[in-house]
């Protein structure tokens, strides 16, 4: 038998060094007694041999990267068998380097379960420690907590409190070990009894008031509370004294609320409502394009509004002479509320400039004024509008056209062609042609700039961009004769 004396209950470094030497010496797990200062001494055990020295230069056992992390947690477990379990795993990993993948192996399963219990206890410690303020000699005050963890998690968890309460002096007292922070160093001392900890804090009445007030008696779910905040922790939580009475009175309070007659509004309330209403009554809708835009804000002529953020109306001055019609707003346009501001819009602006068309001469709008899309996880997938949606939205395009009286309408893509002419054409067939619209006169047809964005090869994009610019130049010449 070899006895290993560890410095404390969660002495990972001590365990690691001993395990290394034992493994090199080929000691079987059954021949090792792991002893911690708080553990019971086996007085009748055979006299223990000393830990073997590792030969110089011997590397020792190799482990997968995740094993030390697992072991650091397992070592904090209360089960006295944790050290031998870890040593056994260490030896087995030498023959089966992928043993940890085998989650249902008895040893792996047990180690995982222990690590999980420790992790949970660590988390509960970060949650349920309650500091109480105490006076100190220098008058600065300090914060002291009493906590009784189920596993040896104080050393594991203390850095959390150090990082959070770096500017406070605090101590966490437990029966096993105490942690202290003096704003400079973290120290650990032996465990103490509960009477060493302060018994109250001036804020606890406030905390209890908060706890009682935030509780909703109409949704009593005691089992959920107990699962997340197990009863053994209650003894050190100042709020727990309220729980029995809150539970007992909950149903009566909830029933009373449901049964109570609706209350009469206070006298001042109608006056306040009237004032609020007056303040938010929309200003006059106005005339011209601005009036039209405001009118379109609430458009529900087709179902597309429901999935969109807002109506994206056309943009440009009333004196614009060229009417550009795209398909529909995209993701960015939907959020911003303006047409042609996304990637396709930027490309359009660039092409417009190269074609020598001043931005103020152009009015840009879409055949459909809400973003048609399909939710897919965290993204919205663009969906092309169908004919009935295009038809429904033509209402607005006709009004925009009537106000603008453009020299020429330019249809960007098939949906715009459909909206302006009422006919379905393949853009590839009618590109560069002038079609006729029943309400907008001449319609010059070209592609939608998003077509260029979808091309993969740079040279394809460059070629198509040049062709698009050529189209716009041609449109300019048609409109202005130069």
């Amino acid at each position: 038998m070899i006895r290993v004396d560890l410095a404390h209950a969660a002495d990972f470094d001590g365990w690691r060094e001993a395990a290394r030497r034992l493994a090199i010496a080929g000691v079987a797990p059954a021949d090792v007694i792991w002893q911690t200062p708080d553990g019971a001494q086996d007085l009748f055990a055979a006299p223990a041999q000393a830990l073997p020295e590792a030969p110089e230069g011997e590397k020792g056992p190799r482990v997968p990267r995740e094993f030390p992390d697992l072991a650091r947690y397992v070592i904090c477990h209360a089960d006295p068998a944790r050290f031998s379990l870890l040593y056994r795993l260490l030896l087995r990993l030498q023959d089966q380097p992928r043993l940890l993948d085998h989650a249902t192996d008895d040893d792996v399963h047990l180690a995982n379960a222990m690590a999980k219990a420790v992790s949970r206890e660590r988390h509960k410690m970060t949650a349920f420690v309650r500091f109480r303020e105490v006076a100190s000699e220098d008058g600065e005050g300090a914060f002291v907590a009493w906590f009784e963890p189920e596993h040896h998690v104080v050393r594991l968890t203390a850095p959390f409190f150090r990082d959070r309460f770096a500017n406070m002096r605090w101590s966490i007292l437990t029966p096993d070990v105490c942690a202290h922070w003096d704003r400079k160093t973290l120290r650990f001392t032996e465990g103490v009894s509960r009477d060493q900890a302060p018994g109250a804090d001036r804020l606890e009445d406030y905390w209890r008031t908060y706890y009682a007030s935030i509780f909703n008696p109409a949704r009593l779910k005691v089992a959920t509370m107990k699962r997340e905040m197990p009863v053994p922790y209650w003894k050190n939580l100042p709020e727990s004294s309220l729980i029995p009475a809150l539970i007992e009175r909950a149903e009566g309070r909830a029933t009373a609320m449901v049964d109570a007659a609706p209350t009469k509004a206070p006298k001042r309330s109608p006056k306040i409502v009237a004032r609020t209403e007056a303040a938010r009554t929309p200003k006059e809708a106005g005339v011209g394009l601005d009036g039209l835009r405001r009118e379109a804000e609430g458009c529900k002529r087709c179902p597309l509004w429901a999935n969109a953020t807002q109506t994206v109306f056309g943009e440009g001055g009333a004196e614009a002479e060229l009417l550009f019609v795209g398909e529909q707003p995209g993701d960015k346009e939907d959020l911003v509320g303006r047409p042609f501001v996304g990637p396709a819009g930027q490309m359009f602006d660039r092409a417009l400039a190269e074609a020598g068309i001043a931005r103020e001469r152009a009015y840009v709008t879409n055949a459909v004024k809400h973003f048609k899309n399909e939710p897919r996880g965290k993204r919205r997938l663009h969906k092309s509008p169908n004919i009935s949606e295009i038809n429904a939205c033509r209402w607005w395009l006709e009004k925009e056209t009537a106000l603008l009286k453009p020299r020429l309408a330019i249809a960007l893509g098939a949906s715009a062609v459909r909206s302006l002419t009422g006919e379905t054409h393949a853009v590839t067939k009618v590109r560069g042609q002038v079609l006729s619209s029943p309400f907008a006169g001449d319609v010059f047809v070209t592609i939608h700039p998003s077509f260029i964005l979808r091309l993969r090869e740079t040279e394809d994009r460059e070629r198509e961009f040049a062709a698009f610019v050529a189209d716009l130049t041609q449109a300019r010449q048609i409109a202005y004769g130069r």
Binding site: R98, D101, H102, A103, T104, A127, F128, R130, F131, F143, A145, F160, A166, N167, M168, D201, L203, D205, Y206, W207, T209, Y210, S213, I214, F215, N216, P217, A218, R219, K221, V222, A223, T224, M225, E228, M229, L237, I243, L246, A254, M257, V258, P262, T263, A265, P266, S269, I272, V273, T276, R280, G298, T309, Q310, L335, V336, P375, G377, K378, R379
Partner: protein, 413 residues
Amino acid sequence: MGQLDSMSKLAILADAAKYDASCASSGGDKRNARAGGMGSTTGMGICHSYAPDGRCISLLKLLLTNHCIYDCLYCVNRVSSDVRRARFTPEEVVDLTLNFYKRNYIEGLFLSSGIIRSPDYTMEQLVRVAQLLRETHGFKGYIHLKTIPDADPALIEKAGLYADRLSINVELPREESLTVLAPQKDARSIRKAMGGLRLRLDEAKEERGKAKHAPRFAPAGQSTQMIVGADGAADSEIVRTSATLYSGYDLRRVYYSAFSPIPSSAAALPLLKPPLMREHRLYQADWLYRFYGFSVDEIVGSMKDGMLDLSVDPKLSWALSNRDGFPIDVNRAARETLLRVPGLGVKSVEKIIRMRRVASLRLADVARLTRSLKNVRPFITTQDWTPGASIDAVSLAARLTPVMAPQQLSLFG
């Protein structure tokens, strides 16, 4: 009316805040106080206590004031309610937050407010609290600020600078319900405000990608809340609205809050027991959409009359109505297929995938990796198990349905 002491104000303004379900302190930055100040965030969130309603208490959840000029019928703080009113000064909230925080009662503050005077004035007050905490007191803990949709964008910008999370509640799943139940709120401005937040969040992410010290903007993103059971919306509408919100505005969470009795009710909106099981099923459906690769149409497709089955969870419900896709071989199936097996959670699936690289799984292995084998067994095959004809048995649904199917009344029958 005499001056209220701070204890009474706390009681009133916590009570007024409890109908907001969110208490998350997760997501966002990792910070600590090693370089000064006080507080930390680990990205994980910590629930410091639980109330007997089963809800976690992570943040000090308060209203700055429960005075309000709006008249939302479902809300205890509406102008026509006769509850006691109170108002904290920003300094009082700061003081309470810091004192609670030092004692490790909370992760931080979730501050909201009734609308007083104007949206801008109200937002200004909220921002002032966050600013005091961050700038005057070096507070590094979590701050969640409720955002007033109609407030000046400059104020929202400032709010995002100090807060970890911002939220705007859509309130009701149906837009038209808002007109009836919350006449001063406007669904379109709520959507627009959420859209504006998403643009700003995207921008901030991009800037921080380029320069590490670019100013932060609500690193824990935005969330929202919908009240369930106050309007006639079916679960299918609710799930669709959620999907629209998740996909459009990059929300971290949509909270569902079962419409719950309030003191001082409105005649136009009668009270009843909150539909808690319905709320629970909606959260499960929400999870299927976000973490299990289900599309809205699949979730809605397995509903009956647009409602989730209250007696079984939505994944089991989906599997029962799509039995031809089962059983699946746990030793071969792709990750996304395994995620669709009732009873297999994300973690179990990860463990299965990891383990089958080194060993072929038997039924006993699956039993060790899941919480309950009963629901899983009819839908899988392993090296030593096949469900045989039981997958087709008409009785399968009955066997997997709890004996006491929870019943709940709906307000609209």
